[in-house]
Subunit: 304 residues, 4 copies
């Protein structure tokens, strides 16, 4: 079956789930997105890209942004990065303060909020203008110069982000944040507010799927081994406390965001981005997860 | 580089670690094993097996036995299995009672002790003589009729297993064990006491690596999708709270045991078993982990 | 107002609560008690005792038994006792394993189940026949030779006591139990099964209320300071995770049991025992707590 | 023995502990206090006050301030207060975020930091100028018009208070703080910075010891029952996770602060304030605790 037909089949098969789940509503900007949107784009290594639905419409990538930030921090710090953040799955909800208190301020991994704040702190201390450097890097990855932060979303999130502010203060208390707490939160929410469409996300993740190619974008370089290790972390930590479920049902490294996006890769085969705003109780896109489960079932291709 | 040379290189490269770590000593039978043993066997799908060192010497497979037990339970119960045990990484030490109490008796996954006890309970209620059926299944998997439990090890473990007895009683309290607590503990420790060598382990795991072949051994059958899902669970949960580390450094689904063994698979390529009794602080074989890291580094083959 | 009138007023004022709460039903023997029973007996230091209702009917004293066991252990071990059990309030439900795991097998205090098991272990290692010695001590305290264990209740509890068996095994794992786990559980449940009526309980607790008198019963001796410290522990730890509530509403040191009994003391004034089998969600007698709140409100006598 | 002689005996008996413990040093202002200071003042209900040592020197009362704030909140809200804060002992360290996360933003009691922040929030929403009202109330309690906040201490604490900022944000996240987070922290630290000497503290606490007198100070009124309940909360929650220890060794309701002060009361007898800056590992004054243990041992007067 060719990928075009596969995407059509997927599109049809996820329809029964089109009303399941709930759009993230903790900030007005995210709540007003049309919940019925569905788009998918698959970008093969050697055969171009395939898409269906609302794949050209940009949305808030939210936590998917943590993958790009980690790539930058890993490029800068190398293995030394892991003295400040772990690489083990979290085993509890993505925003748990308990783990952080028990483990003295070392976040479990770079994809829980606490870990992403430590990564943001590293970017802030490494670059004069980290927000611009981040944007340049992602633009280079996806080959589009006009993707942007949504400053209103970022500001709006910061204003109500009491839990994240608690986390950032706790990290600072444990001396795992060097910069000012507010500055870290600002960069963190700014990167989360980045808006991309499925084409752009799939294109950006192609660099992680195709580790035969040199990884060098806007001055950020990763070795082949580092790319694979990025994928390993996505695999074990990419879906909050549903990492095992996603691994079991889909079997691809990936990362989700509360904007309803999921990006995933099949090493040396393709990258894929899917978007549907309704989330399950764990904060992952219902139709997005179904679509990817269907994809690896139809193709019989997964990492396992 | 051919696999024979690769194994020789690995053997050489792990020598610096030959005195690092500590043999499991909580029961005399495990403590008296020679700590300097090292063996590895790699079994390719289409090209026979390669080995080096003490690969022909049997050792206590301990927690690696949980993979075989899970295969049996999954074959019997199918997806219904997951109502009694989760498939998420545990995020804490392998024997934590805290998680179990917080999550009301549903173990995080089938590879922590609590989860393996629930699996043992399922085997006990499914077969008249579950211990014999388990043995038949593993014998069929590895094609050897003379592998056996070590009843003395099993008995010795049971006698001092206060923490495991606490776990089993807590599961019973939460009604997630149907059989008698003692009976469950007996089967659990019996399967842990199974003794195999690297050749036999690698051969047994080949069935998980080669999911193109039908999986049917001693009456236990798994679909191709189920085999892949077994691998997914090994990937996310196979190394206690070092699952992320193993995924990051090695990048293969696998399972370790405190006897010093590790079995892993590279889907559609090979299975591999390594044995070295000295453990790191997380309970995983020091040289075993190094050897597998070296293997995927040299071959540039991993699932990522 | 004289005590007779006070008790009559209390009896009247608790009537609105006569159908609130639920009899402990985890073992059939406790479940079949008449839920409508209510008795109270107040024993003054210098003016005899006063009672009303079913004060002459014996019931299962359950956790109140822990006070007598602690008195024996404190008499034997003195301050050295506190190396094996804490004296801080537990802050969580009375049977929590979490605290025990986090604090490496040292129970928070002697009135949570874990702590009472450590105390039972101390009695077992101190006496040849600890069950008989315990009985002699309580008989001497209350001046009645015919109070007895209910062996059927004890056996019945042991059979279904999976959570307590988990706790005992965890204590043994942490080496805070010297004797056999089964033996400790047997003594623990035997002491819990003791049956006394309100007169007998009040009389037994008079020894703690009147610390001007020498404390010496069946060979168990406490200093005046030790008696006061017993009272301090009852005050901070006597009511599971409702210790603060009881202290706030009643203001007397005391101890409750899931049989529906509560015994309390007003130092140098009186002891009091109340019995009503319906429990609130925390495991304390609803009418019992109300009755004692009423008592200290009417008399304006509490320790504060 | 008269109280003067008792205080002299106490003074002598605490000398062996004069170099034990460590002055709180998390802010420079607290660190520079002379660690060798020791003062005590005992204020009897009907016989004036007795003092010894540095009882006339003012120090930072820190957490003792929480007693006065609670009195104000209880006066304003009555029993409705307890829907926003518990009255159970905390069972863990005084600043634990774990409990707060598990119990969804309801602090265990008003004397842990989280609970005191909720109380501060109540004061802020109840008064136009809560900081002034608080000061007026404490001035009225101790009969001194010149006690003051130390704004420099307050500011200095706020600047480094990452853990407290984490707690306040977590409370806000759980909607248990109505005002602005910064405003709550400001009032919280301001009240903690209040400076009083032992005479003033003992005098202020006399109002809680003598519940036969009407409690009405600067517009804040409590009933007799409310005073007793204040004492009950001091008894069970006044010493962080050493409440049980203090109750056991001393047997008086009281409250400590990291400035090295402790205030306690013997109902209807006396109030007492002691100050010595060296703290034990739990944050309580070493010599202060010893002095009060000695006091109740010599007098044989405690609440038990």
């Amino acid at each position: 079956m060719d990928y075009k037909t596969i995407l059509e089949n997927i599109h049809a098969s996820v329809q029964p789930y089109s009303c399941v789940g709930k759009v993230a509503d903790y900030i007005p900007e995210l709540a007003k997105v049309n919940p019925d949107k569905f788009g998918i784009c698959l970008n093969t290594i050697d055969d171009g890209d395939y898409s269906i639905g609302d794949s050209g419409e940009r949305f808030s990538i939210q936590s998917i942004s943590k993958v790009f930030a980690l790539a930058m921090a890993l490029s800068i710090k190398g293995e030394a990065l892991w003295s400040r953040v772990g690489k083990e799955p979290s085993g509890t909800a993505f925003n748990s303060l308990v783990q952080l208190e028990v483990e003295h301020g070392i976040p479990r991994n770079p994809f829980i909020n606490a870990g992403a704040m430590v990564v943001a702190d590293i970017l802030l201390t490494s670059f004069d203008n980290s927000a611009e450097r981040y944007l340049e890097f992602v633009r280079a990855l996806c080959g589009k110069d006009d993707i942007c932060y949504n400053e209103q979303v970022a500001r709006s999130e910061r204003e109500t982000a009491y839990l994240n502010a608690a986390i950032a203060n706790l990290l600072k208390y444990h001396k795992n944040i060097d910069c000012d707490v507010e500055e870290v939160l600002r960069l963190y929410f700014l990167t989360c507010s980045l808006e991309m469409n499925c084409h752009e996300l799939a294109r950006a993740f192609l660099a992680f799927a195709n580790h035969a190619e040199p990884f060098s974008y806007a001055g950020i370089e990763l070795t082949r081994s580092q790319i694979k290790r990025m994928n390993a972390i996505m695999q074990t930590c990419g879906f909050y406390d549903e990492a095992g479920e996603f691994s079991y049902l889909v079997g691809l490294p990936g990362k989700s965001g509360v904007g309803g996006g999921i990006a995933a890769i099949c090493p040396m085969r393709y990258s894929v981005a899917v978007w549907s705003p309704r989330l399950n109780s764990k904060g992952n896109s219902v139709m997005g997860m179904k679509a990817l489960e269907e994809l690896t079932t139809i193709t019989s291709e997964s990492i396992f």
